[in-house]
Amino acid sequence: GAGVSQSPSNKVTEKGKDVELRCDPISGHTALYWYRQSLGQGLEFLIYFQGNSAPDKSGLPSDRFSAERTGGSVSTLTIQRTQQEDSAVYLCASSPQTGERAQHFGDGTRLSIL
């Protein structure tokens, strides 16, 4: 089957605009993760959804960031009033169930804030 799909692959927007990034996880995967990767840096955890449990939002850098996961499948990461420091690659991953599971990553959305 298909892997994790993210869209758009690239997004350029002006400072102050809102953006929405989409993630389609692998079918049947109950866990979904969002990460951010700045140039030359490692992955920074943002948020984690697991089934019907309340999401772990501990990595969101500010209240301008939010995410939702509808129907236990597709997820949207929203950044409001974008700032230049939000420029990065936003990566989504999914995994089946929980517990020591390999995470399957999409190729990310490259976000550039002008």
Binding site: L43, F45, E100, A102, D107
Partner: protein, 112 residues
């Protein structure tokens, strides 16, 4: 604060040699550790997982060790090939969560 360190300098080795990458951590008690490979412009790809009660794990040309006393994991690629050139990331997870904390990665370059 919790910290995961990987050698930020690129590792350059000759084809056929063994590449060894290091992952050190502080202020952390991981339940397990994972290694990922990342190619430019792509998302990371899972390679190996090792639990805190395991010393070593192998998969084909890959070997991972985990020393919870030294707070260190070593990642070995034997008989390295130019196709192994990529950035390798280590990631740790605590008990009761699947949230991974990643190191910054080490870039490996294997030349013919």
């Amino acid at each position: 604060s919790q910290k995961i360190e990987q050698n930020s300098e690129a590792l350059n080795i000759q084809e056929g040699k063994t590449a060894t990458l290091t992952c050190n951590y502080t202020n952390y008690s991981p339940a397990y550790l994972q290694w990922y490979r990342q190619d430019p412009g792509r998302g990371p790809v899972f390679l190996l997982l090792i639990r805190e009660n395991e010393k070593e794990k192998r998969k084909e040309r890959l070997k991972v060790t985990f020393d919870t006393t030294l707070k260190q994991s070593l990642f070995h690629i034997t008989a390295s090939q130019p196709a192994d050139s990529a950035t390798y990331l280590c990631a740790l997870a605590s008990y009761n969560t699947d949230k991974l904390i990643f190191g910054t990665g080490t870039r490996l370059q294997v030349f013919p």
